[in-house]
Amino acid sequence: MPETASNQKTPPTLTPAAFHILLALADGENHGYAIMREVAEHTHGKMRLGPGSLYGTIKRMLADGWIEESDERPDPQLDDERRRYYRLTGVGRKLVQAEAERLEQLVNIARGKKLLRNPKSV
């Protein structure tokens, strides 16, 4: 039985790649290449997921029940119908929210210690 986030007592630690993929899917379903581009945009090109990292992480997140494959296929006129689309599950959304809140707390601590150069931009 694959261990899903719902049956774990402590929240799993998200790898940076997994967090960014979940973040990219927060607005709705997307395909692999679009996820890759969005991650690169979010990180200003600092995180470049190769196809292996992307699909390796997607494979593990599917197994853990954080994301799921969408049954809907794009209109062949608009996009390649062979593309697979992925979307967040309820567990995945809770995880990304929890991680974002954790990061927010850390940023607030850093702000309190005046470690941020431009606190308003955060």
Binding site: G32, S53, L54, Y55, I58
Partner: protein, 194 residues
């Protein structure tokens, strides 16, 4: 992409990348090969349109490093998953049986070799319950684990019976039978687990 020499060379790049995917485990390729090739194709087009040949070279370097590391990781993960298969649980049970036999042998004809072998096989036998605990054993593993629990109960009952019937106290005065007793217990337990 049109049929220009450049388009053809990009197409060759995609073909080379597809061939390199053989580095991944077969199961992974079956699921993701098409998607990965598609992502690489989109990436190489974009890299060329934005940065020309240097962009393509940069993409190739990045993709090659990514492929080497992730293919290695997938192979290691596949192997570790295979380790916890029901077959391993079954072989863990076999190891436990032989461990019990060697314990008995070491008790009947004391020598270091049998005892060490029995110890090693006992440790091998622990893989079964561990695999079950790791949640990777499947139905066969679950059955083996359940039988193991029942077997443990039987072994404890046997121990209780031996204690109440005075066999244990006799063992204190007879070292040989004291060595045989744990072996017999393990042997019975292993049979039940299997």
């Amino acid at each position: 992409m049109n049929n220009s020499p450049l388009a053809n060379s990009l197409s060759v790049s995609v073909q080379i990348y597809r061939a390199m995917l053989v580095a991944y485990p077969k199961k992974f390729r079956e699921h993701y090969e098409t998607q990965m090739v598609q992502v690489f194709r989109d990436s190489i087009r974009e890299a060329y349109h934005h940065n020309g040949i240097p962009g393509v070279v940069d993409l190739w370097i990045h993709t090659f490093v990514d492929l080497v590391f992730t293919a290695l990781m997938e192979r290691i993960m596949e192997r570790s998953q295979h380790m916890f298969s029901p077959k391993v649980i079954l072989w863990g049970g076999v190891a436990s049986i032989f461990a019990g036999l060697f314990y008995v042998m070491s008790g009947l004809a004391p020598n270091g070799g049998s005892f060490v072998l029995a110890l090693v096989l006992s440790l091998g036998g622990l893989v079964g319950p561990y695999s079950r605990q790791a949640g990777q054993g499947g139905r066969l593993g679950l059955a083996g684990f359940t039988l193991g629990i029942i077997g443990m109960g039987l072994a404890l009952a046997f121990l209780w019976w031996a204690f109440t019937s005075g066999s244990i106290s006799n063992m204190k005065t007879d070292p040989a039978s004291a060595s045989v007793a744990p072996g017999a217990l393990i042997f019975i337990l292993a049979l039940v687990i299997l």
